[in-house]
Amino acid sequence: MSRVLDWDITVSYQWTAGAVYGHFLGGLKEEKIFGVRCESCSTVYCPPGDVCPQCFTDMAEQTWLELEQEGEVVSFTKVMENFFGERPSDEYLAGRIKPTDYSDHPLIWPPGVPYAMALIRMKGADTAFLHLVRDEEDLKKLRIGAKVRPVWKQERSGYLLDIDQFQIIG
């Protein structure tokens, strides 16, 4: 007779955002969306990464730009099913992000289905930013090329979901 061992592995983390992610997340806390321009190739990244893949430059030393808060949908998907099953315990989900000012931000479980994930090219950026579109009416109107703008949470803490979602404006 076979037996099955059920086990949960719970490890808590405190992720260091560092200079680049930290600056971007810090911007979200201030209701700002930053892009960063690699001075070697002039690519404006939003969101940023630590390194410009093409040039290997240290993005912490490049130029930050505050971007206009409007973007265009490059691709999207409407997620109809919850792939993760039951919501795990808060303990399981507990993760902390350490931007340079050391605020604590718990990891949040993905929103209830249906919701859309969209790749959005912010004005002035050369790359696209993955985020959410959740409003029921917007989900019906969502298409590639739609113009969107961020909807900010009232209470922000320097976390990706300080932007609650993007809404369609055209």
């Binding site: 990244y45 691709s75 998907t77 109809m80 993760f84 790749l119 090219r121 993955l130």
Partner: protein, 380 residues
Amino acid sequence: MSRIGIAGWNQSSFQERMEDVNRNELIFTTVYELLEKTGVDIEDIDSIVSASCDTVDGISISSAYADDAMGAFMKEESKVEEDGAYALMYAYHRLLMGQWRNCLIVAHGKSSDAGPAFYANMMCDPFLLRPLGLETISSAALQAAAYYHRYGVSEEDAARVVVKNRAAGKRNPHTQVRSEVSLEEVLRSPYLASPIKQLEVPPVSDGAVAVLLATEDYARQVTDSPVWVDGVGFCQDVYYPGHKELSHSVSCQKAARDAYRQVGIGDPLKELDLAEVSEGFSFQELLLYENLGFCDQGKGARLIQDGTTDFEGAFPVNPSGGTLCANATMVAGLARIIECCRQLTRSAGENQVQKDLNRALAHASSGLFLQSNLVTILSI
């Protein structure tokens, strides 16, 4: 420099959930059967390279205990945290050094042990991707949407891949999903993450495979028909989905070009006889046709519309049923290599492609958004 060839292989069955064997039993049986098939004694194995993933196994340093089960006692060995096809690539380069006669490659993954959604979400960086709940299906969907939009590919074109591969899987006793499905059924299946539908998604599979790779001399002692590894190319592109064009895969193009260059292939569709690709999702197979150089960008659908890549077509792709019929994490890419071997040695039984076969391509992929790709060219 010696040629390097595959002298033997073994696949476990692929099942949605193997509850009657634990991981080590699965590995042991798979390796034991390979040794029996080839008549090689474990004492005669010079080196071992394994492939597995800690998060799938729920065990850190997943090879620590697994090595005991694969006979790696007092042997030179290493482990890649990649699909088995990458282990074979590494073993191939090790053997080229001329220091060993053979290398046993073992890949295992009991995908059912941990949820595939968690496995994939854990690959996401905690700052920009993880909180969105991104995982394999939603990431494939984002890529599919971009691909369809750019090239005007229809959901029907993608669905044809499922029909083709499921029909092939039905003939393949080694795969997991062995039932046909019609175009209507695929198109009618509910959206999981638009435009990906339920029937366009690979199954969750548990399984293990083992391959004996060897230098020419040794391979010929073991078998009359070694399958030669003529060249391997692999490549990883950018990580963040918004930092690259999703409608094609630069890393796949480069991996293929590198492999073709090593072998001297100018026109893959003409110079290869069949391909086994890790298509993952329906549409990805079309995208792979283009990025492996079988056709121009955006023209992948044509190859399936005109039957070129059908089982009886001029250039069969995935006569095994592909990963749409069995998709064990860390194993699927190496299983594609094995399927090519079955075909080339004409030992594929009920799913044997009938035409002349001399050279095949096996493709493996790793990461979300086809971030990493590996192409192996095999010949008989």
